[in-house]
């Protein structure tokens, strides 16, 4: 049974897995400067897959997704700085905090639909910043500075594991019974309930997974930044970039979040070093163009207009 499932893995999954394995195998020989850029790209990709799990698959737009990343960052900073955990354990703590937070927030906000859900998640993210600013143990509004080493290979392999897990989980969810339930919810939630889909549970499950991965990615982010700082960690630009990544790449697809992460991160990186602030204007324009003319994103459009590719993309 398991073996048959593995043999039927589509070319996209094989492609992504091969790409990741090659990266992992060559990482020790990649020049440090390039490796740090690559690590940031992988963090962005992990965030992109995380948002894809809830927004891409169900259509529930989580506008405040940065909150899971931020709490993941703070969990690592607190775990390493105060509890003296090794950084990898700090990342795991970040993932657990992200999961717990998503369960709590999701239980309330997933009752809202459409734009109300988006607004609710946004409000939570903004409120969370002001709560964190007041907590003494979390840096008393100043953030937490960590005195930890520069270990690009550890960063790389940690975020690599998170990303690889996300890819496999996304594949598993989209290719089984749950996948049918998820698609039915995205298509018409009331009709899904009327044929027996426990929509509330499916949505909460996806949101919790999404929080788990975003929390872990946030942990790695704080590790690379040697600390967590409120206005940086809770910057809503992260939310917007995550949304831009899945919109550009293709919502709910397996390959889309990766393509979107590359498409958003590379220009961001270039403009960050050349014209600070300019990157958001570019991303904004690109998102508007995509939303207007290719609403299914790069991968979604390929699947739609080149049906022969369907087998390859799924």
């Amino acid at each position: 049974m398991r073996l048959r499932a593995i043999r039927s893995f589509g070319p996209t999954l094989w492609g992504i897995v091969t790409f990741l394995v090659v990266l992992a195998a060559t990482a020790p020989w990649i020049p440090v400067f390039l490796l740090t850029v690559l690590i940031q790209l992988l963090i962005f990709s992990a965030l992109s897959y995380s948002l894809n799990l809830i927004t891409g698959l169900t259509g529930y737009v989580s506008f405040g997704h940065v909150v899971f990343m931020a709490f993941g960052s703070y969990a690592l900073a607190f775990g390493v700085g105060t509890l003296n955990l090794p950084p990898v354990a700090g990342v795991a703590l970040g993932a657990v905090v992200g999961l717990a937070l998503a369960l709590g927030i999701g239980l309330v906000t997933l009752r809202f639909r459409g734009v109300y859900f988006a607004i609710a998640t946004l409000v939570v993210a903004v409120a969370a910043l002001y709560i964190v600013l007041e907590i003494k143990e979390l840096g008393d509004g100043q953030g937490i500075i960590l005195n930890i080493g520069f270990e690009p290979l550890s960063w790389f392999y940690t975020i690599w594991v998170i990303l690889a897990t996300e890819v496999l989980v996304t594949y598993w969810i989209t290719h089984g019974r749950i996948g049918y339930g998820v698609r039915s919810i995205k298509s018409d939630e009331d009709a899904a309930k009327s044929v027996g889909v426990n929509a509330a549970r499916v949505k909460l499950f996806l949101y919790a997974l999404s929080g788990l991965f975003a929390g872990g990615a946030g942990g790695v982010y704080a590790w690379t930044a040697s600390g967590a700082f409120p206005y940086q960690a809770f910057n809503l630009m992260f939310s917007l970039q995550m949304l831009a990544m899945i919109v550009i790449g293709g919502m709910g697809t397996l390959l889309g979040p990766l393509i979107g992460a590359v498409a958003v991160y590379i220009p961001s990186y270039i403009f960050l070093t050349v014209l600070i602030g300019f990157q958001f204007i570019i991303i904004g324009i690109v998102v508007i163009i995509i939303a207007l003319f290719v609403p299914e994103g790069i991968v979604g459009s390929l699947r739609k207009y080149v049906p022969e590719l369907r087998g390859f993309i799924e």
């Binding site: 019974r177 049918y180 339930g181 018409d188 009709a191 027996g196």
Partner: protein
């Protein structure tokens, strides 16, 4: 075991609007019960109450003696009661086969494997005469085909009691005859119990063994199709007081 759905003295108020006021009825597995009444008399609300889409303000709904009126919709489907939508709600981004397969995998059957569910979905589509559209996206179906898909999806859940909301509306006389034959054939084959809300009198009176008439949320008559159409209260509800007096 024959399943029995029992609705006892159910009320539903929407603010000041009393949509359903103390209706009671029974549907056994294998039995077809018709529910008729003028527009706005609370028929669809009653179906929504049974299906768990709305919760009754007062009263009880039981399945084999167990209270189900506080259960969420998906759990009621899991116990073998499923409803079609008056305005069909297909999963537009899916093929017909996938539409029904979702119902097979999540409904009242113990079928969780997608490959087998897709096969079973094909059989359900054949039952309702949609097998030639099985691999067509449901967004490409006509309204009448969408209604058949709704029916196939309800069958797909493995429901033992089905709630059908105006599935015979808007058909030409020939289409109606075909649809009624199809319904009778499928009902005999599967043996489900059905509560059908319908405006098309010919369908209700031919298919049901028992008919319930509601007006303004209250039950005003019930009995065999023949006795119900001759009931003066029913004639009055449909045609007005003068017509009722004129009736023989």
């Amino acid at each position: 075991m024959t399943r029995v759905l029992e609705v006892s003295d159910v009320h539903k108020y929407f603010g000041g609007v009393r949509a359903v006021q103390g209706v009671s009825l029974n549907v056994r597995e294998g039995q077809v019960v018709g529910l008729i009444g003028p527009n706005g008399s609370g028929k669809s609300t009653l179906l929504n109450l049974i299906a768990g889409v709305e919760r009754p303000t007062k009263g009880a709904i039981t399945l084999d003696g167990r209270r189900i009126d506080r259960w969420p919709a998906h759990r009621i489907v899991g116990q073998g009661i499923a409803k079609t939508h008056q305005i069909p709600k297909p999963f537009l981004a899916m093929t017909c086969r996938e539409n029904v397969a979702v119902a097979v995998m999540f409904g009242n059957r113990e079928q969780r494997e997608s490959a087998k569910a897709l096969g079973e979905a094909g059989r359900m589509l054949a039952l309702v005469g949609l097998e030639h559209k099985a691999d067509v996206l449901s967004s490409n179906l006509t309204v009448q085909e969408r209604k058949r898909l709704e029916f196939a999806r309800v069958l797909g859940t493995g429901a033992r009691i089905v709630l059908l909301d105006e599935i015979f509306a808007g058909l030409s006389p020939e289409e109606l005859r075909d649809a009624m034959n199809l319904f009778e054939r499928v009902q005999k084959e599967i043996g489900f119990g059905a509560l059908i809300v319908e405006h098309v009198m010919r369908a209700v009176l031919t298919l049901s063994e028992h008919v319930i008439v509601v007006e303004e949320g209250m039950k005003i008559a019930e009995g065999s199709p023949r006795t119900v159409v001759e009931d003066p209260a029913v004639i009055e509800a449909y045609l007005g007081v003068e017509a009722a007096h004129a009736a023989p």
